[in-house]
Symmetry: D2
Subunit: 333 residues, 4 copies
Amino acid sequence: MIRIALLGCGRIGKMHAATIVRSSKAELAAVYDPVSAAAKEVGRQFGCVVAVSAEEAIAQAAAVLIATSTPTHADLIEASAKAGKAIFCEKPIDLSLARVKACRAALKGFNRPIQIGFNRRYDPGHRAARDAARSGEIGDIRQVIITSRDPGLASREYLKASGGIFKDMTIHDFDLARFMLGEEPVEVFATGSALIDPTLAELNDIDSAMVVLRTESGKLCHINNSRAAIYGHDQRVEILGSNGMLISGNRRAHGLERFGPTATGAAEPFLNFFIERYAEAYALGLESFIDCVETNATPDATFEDGEKSLALAEAANLSRVGRRFVNIREIVG
Amino acid sequence: MIRIALLGCGRIGKMHAATIVRSSKAELAAVYDPVSAAAKEVGRQFGCVVAVSAEEAIAQAAAVLIATSTPTHADLIEASAKAGKAIFCEKPIDLSLARVKACRAALKGFNRPIQIGFNRRYDPGHRAARDAARSGEIGDIRQVIITSRDPGLASREYLKASGGIFKDMTIHDFDLARFMLGEEPVEVFATGSALIDPTLAELNDIDSAMVVLRTESGKLCHINNSRAAIYGHDQRVEILGSNGMLISGNRRAHGLERFGPTATGAAEPFLNFFIERYAEAYALGLESFIDCVETNATPDATFEDGEKSLALAEAANLSRVGRRFVNIREIVG
Amino acid sequence: MIRIALLGCGRIGKMHAATIVRSSKAELAAVYDPVSAAAKEVGRQFGCVVAVSAEEAIAQAAAVLIATSTPTHADLIEASAKAGKAIFCEKPIDLSLARVKACRAALKGFNRPIQIGFNRRYDPGHRAARDAARSGEIGDIRQVIITSRDPGLASREYLKASGGIFKDMTIHDFDLARFMLGEEPVEVFATGSALIDPTLAELNDIDSAMVVLRTESGKLCHINNSRAAIYGHDQRVEILGSNGMLISGNRRAHGLERFGPTATGAAEPFLNFFIERYAEAYALGLESFIDCVETNATPDATFEDGEKSLALAEAANLSRVGRRFVNIREIVG
Amino acid sequence: MIRIALLGCGRIGKMHAATIVRSSKAELAAVYDPVSAAAKEVGRQFGCVVAVSAEEAIAQAAAVLIATSTPTHADLIEASAKAGKAIFCEKPIDLSLARVKACRAALKGFNRPIQIGFNRRYDPGHRAARDAARSGEIGDIRQVIITSRDPGLASREYLKASGGIFKDMTIHDFDLARFMLGEEPVEVFATGSALIDPTLAELNDIDSAMVVLRTESGKLCHINNSRAAIYGHDQRVEILGSNGMLISGNRRAHGLERFGPTATGAAEPFLNFFIERYAEAYALGLESFIDCVETNATPDATFEDGEKSLALAEAANLSRVGRRFVNIREIVG
């Protein structure tokens, strides 16, 4: 049994707590949240120690799951690493690429597993698509199309702290693009609009985005995002190869279809929201992390993956402003 | 160019006229209908001779297409055969199996093609299913499930003359069952109810039916019929084999799907009615007939097929009344 | 927390144990199995008491889950009832309708919940179909079509003890038919063949079956079964009404589709077998039982449901031998 | 009956000839092709006059269908207009925007219908999607995604004369984008690669392209193209609105699906190529043109539509080279 300390007891922290408790290989050693009421609630629900500081929580476990607010991630990664604990950190590592680089420098010599919360890599459909592509089933990969739309606009408060759509939302798709392409994107084009809530322009943010990526060898990737798809959490990945195409599509709660005078084959709305849509992915991602902790193996979603997706998000920001294709070397030097 | 005489200018006769005219290998030589206004309308529309008698029409052609009312079919088959013409006759040959047997006797020595209008055999999806099954793709055939539902109840007048659901509607499915099974059904069970229009009981008829067939080797087939499926003309054929399953499904006018807050993947109603659903089948069936006429080959849907399906319909009637499995030998002797 | 005693630690018993342990409202109080090694294994895995007799296990709990071999069900129901415990019993109650009637008599005065393991009633898709039908969404129900096929033939040993296909496998579909029709079937026709393994005829059993049911008001239901569908556990329910149709279809592990030169839209095989296909149903069925235990409410799948489905299975056996429509009153008197 | 002169008897000319002949409202008055053998073949097949010059063909008809090679389109439009004939011209009008502008100037005062061969506007699925979007069914339009892939790379000879992917292939998608968006794109980003045939780089052409368009109000559109999709002619249009999404999907020859041990729901490859996929669209487009000729109405796909799509293609070329968002005003002045 791997003893895990959970830092952060908000929506996603609670979900992780439940996942840990359900796992047969892990136990929830301690929880901490700067809002002590939140920590106490999770502690009571799952019957575990409620620590009074992150350090105290970290001390009681073999691995640390960081689900606190983004600005604290890098510090907590460093603290956990210093304590020699395996680390699972929610995305993004930080909103600043410079801070991420500094964190990487601080991790030098750290030799325990560190996994970033790119849950979609563990979704059975997405994973099967990627495995089929890697196996050569569709020949040479030529294009990847990622459709990624949330069911509804988050609160203003959330959006203000989010770092903008590319670092908050598209970052998942940048990671998925890299996962599917099997080759690093070197050029980034991004544009978008505030179509759902035009006042988002006040935050210099957008709610509808389109991105094009290009790798060194010329493979192409398109990502489209919307903060509000009324029909559910729309999560599709398509890979076009020289010998075929793969599509990992949306999921519904069940398989009922309705047939009437005006429509046939009408099925349920898509699972909504990420906690439902990616429930299996969260569980499988945690299991994979635990396996890495047990064997000291490298996770599928590494610190470097977190850093590279953030670099793509920074390139997207630069592209949107500059209205041009941005070479990733302008960002990463 | 095969010159075809069309006998019968009602709904289905008109459809056949248009199909003949569109064919590059046939021409409409003459039309006849006891209601002369109907014949004149078709003659005017397609610019062909309007005969004053069936005999006159038959005389002008190399092949005769019989689309008159059912009670005249057998007489017109005999008249056409006597004149040495190839014959395409709409189903059923007659409502009386005795009359059909007499007709068969009268055809003795006739050596030109005679095709019965079992259009579904020529539907590309159904045909592909049957060809795949015949090729061994799904191994040994074990079960066939046929769903066959009309979009709405026909007029009382039509139903009164129809011969009852098994001879009028299910007869297509009996033929399709034989086509798919690749083996003769030897036992028939049938039941049903007047659920759409309870007053159909006055005609000793039903509008909702379920049938089970069993072949000598034990293969099973289920047919379900309804006279009123509000979502379109529901036409499905399923074949279960030892190595897989084939389903030839419904067709829609186009591929639009709608996604909204209460339903996703909502597509168009099914094509409605048989003239739309089986448009390709009618054209392909006519082309196949023309090829048979040209080469004096045996059509895919023969007189014997018409007779055997009628025998199954009679067995179904006997089964419904007797509430028991009826052996086909009780009918055909 | 409802304390549950589990009797029977075979494949399905283990699955129930895991479901109980995952529930936040129940705990596994004790387990018992005549094969003590099996009970010990479950006891060790889930950390619960291993009782030396059924009585000892029953005594430690508020509710009893009976997952032993079929011949012991009725005795254990009676023992649990005598001890005043709520009861969840796997299907069938017994292979003999007489024994079931005797058990019912013995339960007279027992006023705790008793639920039969008709898990399919709790499947989200099937349940949504039935709820939509009950709500009037598709108007008057006219036909129900149930396709129910196992992925592969069970062992000879299993089949010998099974009571035959109608009592072992179709019994689930009889229950589902009653659940969907909303009206009791009064007539039963059944036939079938040993197509997968012809030597099954030695057991007077079949592996491929077709059934037709008819209710008093004339509603029709078809069930088809196969013991071996190579493409997965095929579980479909279709309801045709005057105003539309509902289909609760099959489930796949994930939403990947493949597109290549010979096929498009090729998805995963269906979930296989019942433990995977009905995983949610088992969990929801247990939750529903626990709710009933807490509030002393009547479960959705009652003892009477178990008895009525068994009566339909006996009618099916009589029909298959007699090759005729059997009125249920011939069975239930 | 509208008498139509067909100029150009290559692959697409022959297809138009067959469509004209099948129409009940039009007849093929004359055909002309600089390769007289091609004209004679069509003339013989359809029994019409074979003209020795374009002028001679034009003189014999009320309407002219121009399906010659692209460099002759503008001249033939001007000649037809001078003769006062209604005009149907295949896309593109010309590869040079300057030539198109000159042609427009030459058409000043011409008041007969002129329709450009943007067949996809007449596809029933695409049309139904656009009509639903226009009707407000999905609220405000926010994004359009167009996937448009040919089944296989055309010949080198064809590609050399094609004007490059954006003017030859994407031009259809630019037109469809404008048709769906209901608002003019003002900014264009385009990139691509020669992934299928790297030697295409010698022609300064690509075979894999991604485009992003942005309208004045911020609506976004993505187009992806490939010259070789092994699974068929992939033609999808998706419209995301504030109240839902519409997808007009691919079409298959029939509705057979296969279920086996490794895949379920495997359907036919997509219809391949445009003549099959858009057969209905070609027929409906011609019918629509004939209706416009009869009533002197403005077609759905006008000369201006042809010009605007060409301007978008030029902008795409500029964007690809400049690696930046190009404002359409840089092109159209």
